[in-house]
Symmetry: C2
Amino acid sequence: MRNDSRLSRMLHVLLHMARHEGPMTSDEIARMLGTNAVVVRRTMAGLRDSGYVRSEKGHGGGWVIEADLEAVSLLDVHRAVGGPRLFMIGSEHPNANCAVERVVNEALESALNEAEAMLVARLGKVSLAELARRFDQRCRSTF
Amino acid sequence: MRNDSRLSRMLHVLLHMARHEGPMTSDEIARMLGTNAVVVRRTMAGLRDSGYVRSEKGHGGGWVIEADLEAVSLLDVHRAVGGPRLFMIGSEHPNANCAVERVVNEALESALNEAEAMLVARLGKVSLAELARRFDQRCRSTF
DNA sequence: AATCATGTAACATAATAAGTATCGTGACTT
DNA sequence: AAGTCACGATACTTATTATGTTACATGATT
């Protein structure tokens, strides 16, 4: 698999739901994302457990957004979908016996931790509402 | 596979070689890393192509470090081993048709690019010599 | 000539997101 | 009450990529 695109996909879905009246079915969402309804349900389950969306069965059922757009950040969504590991690179043996290895790993992990802290801060600062506003602005500016 | 540990491993090896007289065989290195000689050759090939190490066949052969420790940064080594992708997360469809998707992906990629720039800058600022000095200091400080 | 060490190719393994098929369950419609 | 719709859950498959492993060829040294 090339990339973990769960965060990207879920943000895409949440913003659509925010501008959509009534529930959206997993099938509709799947077509939107170019994937499968089962994948949608699987990924949205995390959002449901976090209370950002609600799901309803039966006729007229589907997914409804419940989140306060101002209160939910991209970081919140990242965590809701499982908060996967961010970096591809790293070290085996975090606590190595070899002194050389320890020096190397401390240098690497320090750099990685700093980058992760920045990324987390950055994602935590942007709300769903902010993204929605950017979308609205972009739409208006085409006139 | 959990993590791409090629950078970590190669730094570990380079620092050992910097403190080691004469060539080290792939087998010695493999035992040091807890892996296989073929994996060592495969990974070290990148360092050889970048001119950081030299390999010699036959009796008394093996790997010799050639890098100027002051001139080679962790970033250089990262690139020499293939410069793999740094982040696990990202978006499919960098240039989506959907305006919502574009807004989402721009926000994500902006944050990722910023974190990547910081990480690259951080790795580019540390030289092999600096790591070697840290190692030497740590050894001295145990007396 | 024998031995040692690298170079290379081919194949296996592990981890994980994603894709797919299937069946169960609850809810709404008629 | 029956039928349909949509989610829930399970199981299996696929794709990707670093890593592990086996085997053999090539070149250098003794």
